[in-house]
Symmetry: C2
Subunit: 371 residues, 2 copies
């Protein structure tokens, strides 16, 4: 692949804080602004780097909070000013991606948009690109297309997509209809899905003509759609944008795009899927961060942090160091230690999902200063 | 007990850093300068408070490093200047206690000294006092007397004293000869000792006439003895003390008083023991600190630190907080978390003994800034 796909526009929703990665991720330093792989780049920058060859630097839009504008622009020096779409507050993924679609379709009626989270980890770039190219070909036919990750293990941590009938679309030999979305399974069910090969991980990537996406939103959430259209009309007018955002945005329904677009489209046989044969992780919690940084090796202590001073003795898990302190871990297995200036977390991989509960408890107890 | 014992002088060797309590204890903040029980007092102050009713405030000598002089005097406003005996460098317990004995015997030839570590935890004061009174009575008869702690469990963490023949000393109905010192036992042997009741924990407390103690040192380490006598002769002369310390002290043999006094005296039938029926702990490591601060309850998370901000979920062990950071521990059992400004330790009670190894590793790797 040498040239960008001409009718393709990438959209990066850069929103979520990543509460389950507290105290590393927090309101003013959300997950997508961290280097979680030791690559030397933030996840946002890695996302940009993956999409730039596919879309071109002038055809990548980022939807983010006003508070993150400076950080996002510093991370992405190539981003065009008109492609930074600022939210006054978070309104979930339908509003974020829908607004990008509504803005872009006015600039370019036949545009195909692909939405890719700012905080996922993907390896093996050519394989990713091949999946996107197929998905764009499918989207040109009027489908909403998702990329489902071919599982590498029987995970109970992700939702699954059940593949249906194969499609016949030129340039997309692996495309199929989506039969159904299925919730995170139990271990036995997950083993069955893994053996079956017809179940893919739902990675929340959607590729679609912008007008097709908006039509789905209109069909299922007409009020939300009307708000997005009104916002988009005012968007490119410097005087009208601010008042329109202030008036309309806070009233938009907070709802995930899965419910407004993906599931209804699947029910109507209008949702396609292309399998992604690349390594993917949503780095949902510290257990997954530990796994990611130990390269899958067991009984190893992964260390994340540029200036980490770690002394470890017979320990495994992960230490995340954001300070210059000496951190000594002795005889602890699957441990998670996250050391920041104002907060320290000690848990294990097994309990990594409970971190969100601590964040809630801190909020409730008026200790939001460390969130 | 209302009056101090007239011929008794208490000596508090305040020396050891307590490496196994790093990063809480360190060179400039040794174990005896910490409040490890939440009493609101340092261990040194608690030691002083125990001894003051027995000896009187003007008859308690503290042997400590020059570097700790200011801290010790601040902790003990009642200590007399002439009772602060400063070491230019650590030379182990024979030199420390022997120097105190040599200085005090010149002031008062018949004095009985009792040496009590500055960093042990003892509860139930009247019971402690009763043991000391008996030991002083035994010491008056010319014995070296130790107080052996009546075990409260079959510990493998302490050395033991095997009681021999009972003595007949007025005022010391429980006194016996010491048959032998025995090393830290394995679990089965410890259970046997515990059932036997004739085995006591060696807590390193020695009560003796100063001249008897010095005679033992002279018999077994004549050079060391000569150095101590020479030092003591120069001690009360302001002009001579400094040069004498500089010349003699660094050359004194580093050896524990157990080898120079206790064991040889036991072999000759000159070492007596009085059982101590009080709660005692040498707080040797974080496992013992955790136990001490959870009041013996299992499955509880002990918290030490005046300004601790801890959020815990189904965790047990101990968190020591010396910073204002929020510390969150989730689902970790028997954990040890020690949070200080420049160093963090995460281990478990089971591995608490390995902390000293980390301190050694830090020294070897040139990271002494955090020791």
């Amino acid at each position: 692949m040498t040239e960008p796909i001409p009718d393709f526009y990438a959209v990066i929703p850069a929103g979520g804080v990543g509460s389950r990665l507290w105290p590393l991720s927090r309101a003013d330093a959300p997950k997508f602004l961290h280097d979680l792989t030791g690559s030397g780049h933030t996840l946002l920058r890695d996302t940009w780097n993956r999409l730039e060859p596919l879309a071109g630097h002038d055809r990548i839009a980022v939807v983010t909070g006003r508070a993150h504008r400076a950080a996002v622009e510093a991370e992405l020096p190539g981003v065009l000013d008109r492609n930074v779409i600022l939210e006054s507050e978070p309104r979930d993924s339908t509003a974020a991606i829908g607004l990008a679609a509504a803005i872009l379709v006015r600039r370019e009626p036949d545009v195909i948009i692909g939405s890719f989270a700012a905080d996922h980890v993907i390896k093996v770039l050519p394989v990713f690109s091949w999946a996107v190219e197929q998905a764009v070909a499918v989207a040109r036919e009027g489908y909403v297309c998702t990329i489902g990750i071919q599982p590498t293990e029987p995970s109970v941590g992700f939702g699954y997509i059940r593949k249906g009938q194969m499609l016949t679309v030129a340039g997309a030999p692996e495309a199929a209809l989506v039969d159904a979305f299925v919730e995170k399974p139990d271990a036995e069910t997950a083993r069955g899905y893994f053996a079956d090969r017809g179940y893919l991980w739902n990675a929340g990537m959607f590729i679609s003509r912008a007008d097709v996406l908006l039509a789905e939103i209109e069909a299922n959430e007409p009020e939300l759609h009307a708000g997005l259209i009104e916002l988009a009309e005012a968007w490119d007018d410097r005087d009208r944008r601010g008042p329109a955002v202030d008036r309309i945005w806070p009233r938009l329904k907070k709802i995930a795009i899965d419910y407004v677009v993906a599931e209804p489209a699947a029910a109507k046989g209008r949702l396609a899927v292309v399998p992604g044969h690349f390594d993917w992780d949503d780095v949902g919690d510290f257990a997954s961060l530990a796994k990611l940084n130990s390269s899958g090796r067991k009984n190893e202590l992964a260390i994340l942090g540029e200036n980490a001073r770690i002394l470890a003795d017979t320990s495994s898990g992960i230490v995340v160091s954001q300070t210059s302190r000496v951190i000594s871990v002795i005889g602890v297995q699957d441990i998670v230690v996250v050391d920041t200036e104002d907060a320290l977390l000690v848990t294990t991989s097994e309990h990594a999902q409970k971190v969100k509960g601590i964040v809630d408890a801190l909020k409730l107890s008026g200790q939001g200063d460390v969130l």
